[in-house]
Symmetry: C2
Subunit: 219 residues, 2 copies
DNA sequence: AATAATATTTAGGTAAATCTAAATAATAAT
DNA sequence: ATTATTATTTAGATTTACCTAAATATTATT
């Protein structure tokens, strides 16, 4: 199956949005891909034709097993390149997402597998996400909850689900990185903001938008 | 200046064909890019608009200084990725061209420079071609003559100008690689084939097409 | 120099991936 | 259960990078 860059981006986004949800809506996909719903409908028809997604008018989108396989290959490439950029080229974790976004579209199994080997077949990428192996097998689908949902009072940052440079820069500025341990001081119901504290630092408040994207586990 | 992948490929090919020639013809470029002359004319207008080439109807194509700068950046990326693939991922020299052809289009100066640094700022790529530095400065534009043109009787292989996998496989099979020293046994005028001999090996004959693409220097 | 051959350009068309605006379906609110 | 709102799809354009076929220039040949 030969996919265009655009088709690959759709498959990857569907895979991402499918997590948790039982199907992906046209609007959500359009927002995720920064495009218009009408364009999504067009592409949905094409991907259905190629048997990569299950799609019926107004019924939302799901990956077929084949589509999921394709998605996992793309995710594998993306996360391996992120490892490469951070470990070998000394990029910081908030810089690598956009570059990996381009590198992931070089579709060569041999290259992918050699790269993985070169990196010591890593199981997680610099953001804490698991890397699918050559067969598409992947460790547990990442951490338990978002900080937004977590009930815990003391927790550890396991991953960040949104890789926009803006968020990652914000987190870096605030001293939040992988493995950072935080205490939840207060949750404000009126705007869902959360006051948190990192050891040896003054407490500060983060918005719902931010807390939704910080993945944590209780400690 | 933001170039599409297609525009970059045109610029790169013009740069390649310009070497020696004083301008590049529509047909030559079409052949090089495996496209049609009409498409080249279309693109020539666009690249002229962007001031990357000098072009007047029926007059052939030349890079402007700006176009040449762009070309050297692309060539730099291409050759650095080739180094990476051969040195770090253990690809053989005949495998890397196609992959580098894709990787070269990731346009990030920071990535390029970090990659170069990671590789120890190499000055030549695995095919023997010099790698432009970050400023576009490049070592002497490679070897003197093709085997086809060379008058010398004993010579050394400095580079291969055509990177098609077919040719590179052929050369590998015959034991011809960078640095290989050969003796010219005979030149057959009727088809321009050449009988050559590598030390400790039986002599064999290569076609004009092959000899045109082997770059040598006399020793 | 006239003609033949070749090279190049123009005109008009196609496919992929997008878009806007309008139409229609599904969902939420009264 | 209507109506209003929101989501989705359709219809028709647009842009990029191609294409073919025909027209026109240039170059080579007699």
């Amino acid at each position: 199956m030969n996919l265009s860059v655009s088709e690959e981006n759709y498959i990857k986004s569907i895979y991402k949005l499918e997590e948790g949800q039982d199907s992906v809506t046209t609007n959500a996909l359009a927002y995720e891909l920064d495009t218009k719903p009408a364009s999504v409908t067009d592409m949905a028809k094409k991907l259905k034709e190629k048997k990569l997604i299950a799609y019926e008018k107004y019924q939302g989108i799901n990956l077929t097993p084949e589509g999921k396989k394709a998605a996992l290959q793309i995710v594998r490439r993306h996360r391996l390149w992120e490892c490469f950029l951070v470990e070998k080229l000394a990029f910081s974790w908030e810089e690598v997402h956009e570059l990996a976004e381009e590198l992931e579209h070089v579709r060569s199994e041999k290259l992918t597998n050699r790269l993985s080997e070169f990196l010591g077949n890593p199981a997680i990428d610099p953001h804490g996400d698991p890397i699918p192996d050559a067969q598409g097998k992947m460790g547990k689908p990442r951490t338990q909850t978002s900080l937004h949902k977590s009930q815990a009072k003391r927790l550890e940052v396991m991953a960040v689900s949104d890789k926009s440079a803006a968020l990652l820069e914000f987190l870096t500025a605030k001293g939040i990185r992988l493995g950072t341990q935080l205490d939840v001081i207060e949750r404000y119901a009126f705007d869902n903001s959360i006051e948190i504290k990192i050891r040896n630092q003054p407490a500060f408040t983060i918005s719902e938008q931010v807390s939704k994207n910080i993945m944590v586990k209780a400690i």
